[in-house]
Symmetry: C2
Subunit: 375 residues, 2 copies
């Protein structure tokens, strides 16, 4: 009961706060004595902090407002992707306090070796956060593959681009509560909490693989087994070239990073050529845009997203992708839906997934502070 | 508070009943006096009935069990489809009490005329149900198109095969609570409540149009605007033949009823030819199966269903579709998912949507009996 009341009070502070204790009692229906005692615990744990005097509650007497504190509780976001490792520390107000990205070549790599490097990165950034007075209370890891969250640690079932299969991942930073999830799912949550904050969208994660995360009413849609949103393997051409998934003519074959770059070394190099108007680069982007329009047409018909957010490498390429994608969606969807969903560029940049990972742990702490913080 | 307690008690009776009043008090945490008073109201309204003596609750004293009653409260399911009108009456235990189907040609029809015929059918079947002692407490209508449920009545935004656009539909049977929803959504709910009763599946509704309804954990996924599951317009061949939706190469072009039948007059005629081994009929089914496999591959990647249920006209054609669909899914999906979702035939037959419509109203009554029945 106390645990539930702590969650109720923290939810009121988080969603509509700061509030005085009197206002919190009114909002939650709890007695002032109970609220004061709960707030004392939250203050002690560094979850909330007192601000200046405000007018509080119905009676209009001034009181001290209690708001979420960004000074103590923090979480760790981690990401293993195909060409980099990343970590970030986010505080309870979802302010990003630290970020680190390490370029890497993780294709067909040894999981133990890569997870060892991730552990070193996690310990380094955690130490830096704690030197600054933060306490890291949990961690989550984004991976470019399918995942089974087993509660204590997680099982990475298959990450074809890493060449990993059935890898058990232990919490890398020490002994924290730990979650593991698909990169596109967490990037969608990153967009929700750190990007546009719109409640309804399909986030399209363009990396070496292409994934997507659907958010409806602020909640991530995961499907039956947590495997929904594999946009990269939606069929664009039924008898097209083979894909490493075993299928044929998947979107990834036409619009994945490898298809976009060809012999180029980086997205930056591609953008330079696009800006210079190089015909081959323009043609590659146009072809990728047409394929994206076909796959997104199928996705809109099946998932019914509020808007489409292009992220990952699609963000810097947006000026060249927008035309063919919007045209394709318009032609194919206009008659059935009036207008296709708005097409926008992600505001979170390449950090979306690692931010979403840290944000996921924040969400869990806010949902059950008693359990998460041992109150 | 009384309304909530009525719902809590009815939920316990419905999910795990019949129960004695003592057992209900134990399960719900309400006092026996409160439970007795609530049960009295439910008995009076004909929602529950008393059965034989059973051992009740912890003390093991025999008591009278209270269970859901199928004798009084009923609901009306209605359907306007392209080639028929249908109606059914279902009682509170989800037993189907009456069904009627009227063949019709509703293509490019006048909404007022068709809705007039539907009203006659609704009044006829309601009168027959009431003559048998049932009281019809609400109605829902399945339509082959996109719908906006406006609370009081509904707005059919677009049903291309009917040729209807922005048609406001009033409750046809009299003055009952009324809902309107897409045919594939309601057919999926029909499969959930009157078919296999599995909690996780994608129901594929093969009619002149092809729709789908995804059920995850017993709940229908509707997307952002209630427009999810338009499987018929998933792109199979990006530059394929034009579809009446304005797109190209949609699944419906290859596997909709018109494509399957060609010059034949009915599915029965097609089945006869398939059974006789007629090459052209076999080839048509095989081509439809291949197209279905491509569209379902995209759907599995995006929606992650627990199983795939083929319904509508795909049910009688299942023996000929199963091979190409299962082969296609196996080849395209096996590597990423281990095995594709099981492919099964619907058990509800052509009545799935109209049953789902009646079931939807039952669900609303069970969720809030005080409001639905004026208790």
């Amino acid at each position: 009961m106390r645990a539930r009341n702590l969650a109720v009070v923290l939810d009121a502070i988080h969603r509509t706060g700061p509030h005085t204790r009197a206002a919190l009692a009114e909002r939650t229906g709890l007695t002032k004595t109970t609220v004061s005692s709960l707030v004392a615990d939250l203050l002690e744990a560094g979850v909330v902090a007192e601000g200046g005097a405000v007018r509080g509650g119905e009676r209009g007497r001034p009181g001290v407002a209690v708001g979420l504190s960004g000074h103590r509780v923090a979480t760790l976001g981690l990401e293993v992707n195909i060409d980099y490792l990343a970590a970030c520390v986010v505080d309870l107000t979802r302010a990003v306090r630290l970020r680190r990205t390490r370029p890497a070549d993780n294709r067909n790599s040894d999981p133990a070796e890569i997870l060892g490097r991730l552990r070193a990165l996690a310990q380094e950034i955690t130490a830096e956060a704690e030197a600054g007075g933060l306490r890291v209370m949990g961690a989550a890891l984004a991976v470019p593959g399918t995942v089974e969250d087993t509660g204590a640690g997680g099982l990475l079932r298959s990450a074809p681009h890493l060449g990993w299969r059935d890898v058990r991942v232990e919490e890398p930073a020490g002994d924290l509560p730990f979650a593991i999830d698909n990169e596109a799912n967490l990037a969608a949550l990153g967009e929700l909490w750190f990007g546009s904050r719109e409640p309804d969208f399909l986030y399209v994660s363009g990396e070496i693989g292409i994934g997507a995360g659907l958010v409806v009413g602020g909640t991530l849609f995961r499907g039956t087994f947590g495997l929904a949103g594999e946009l990269g393997h939606v069929v664009v051409v039924p008898d097209g070239p083979g894909c490493r998934c075993g299928g044929r003519g998947c979107l990834e074959v036409y619009a994945g990073q490898d298809a976009l770059l060809g012999p180029l070394e980086s997205v930056t190099a591609l953008v330079e050529r696009l800006e210079a108007g190089e015909p081959r680069a323009l043609e590659t982007c146009e072809r990728a845009g047409h394929a994206l329009a076909v796959a997104l047409t199928s996705a809109v018909h099946l998932l019914d997203p509020g808007r489409i957010v292009l992220g990952g490498v699609f963000a810097p390429l947006f000026p060249w992708l927008e035309g063919p994608v919007a045209d394709g969606l318009g032609t194919r969807l206009a008659q059935m839906r009036g207008a296709p969903p708005p097409l926008v560029v992600s505001g979170t940049g390449p950090d979306a997934a690692v931010l979403g990972a840290a944000g996921l742990v924040i969400q869990r702490i806010l949902a059950d502070p008693a359990q998460a913080l041992g109150l």
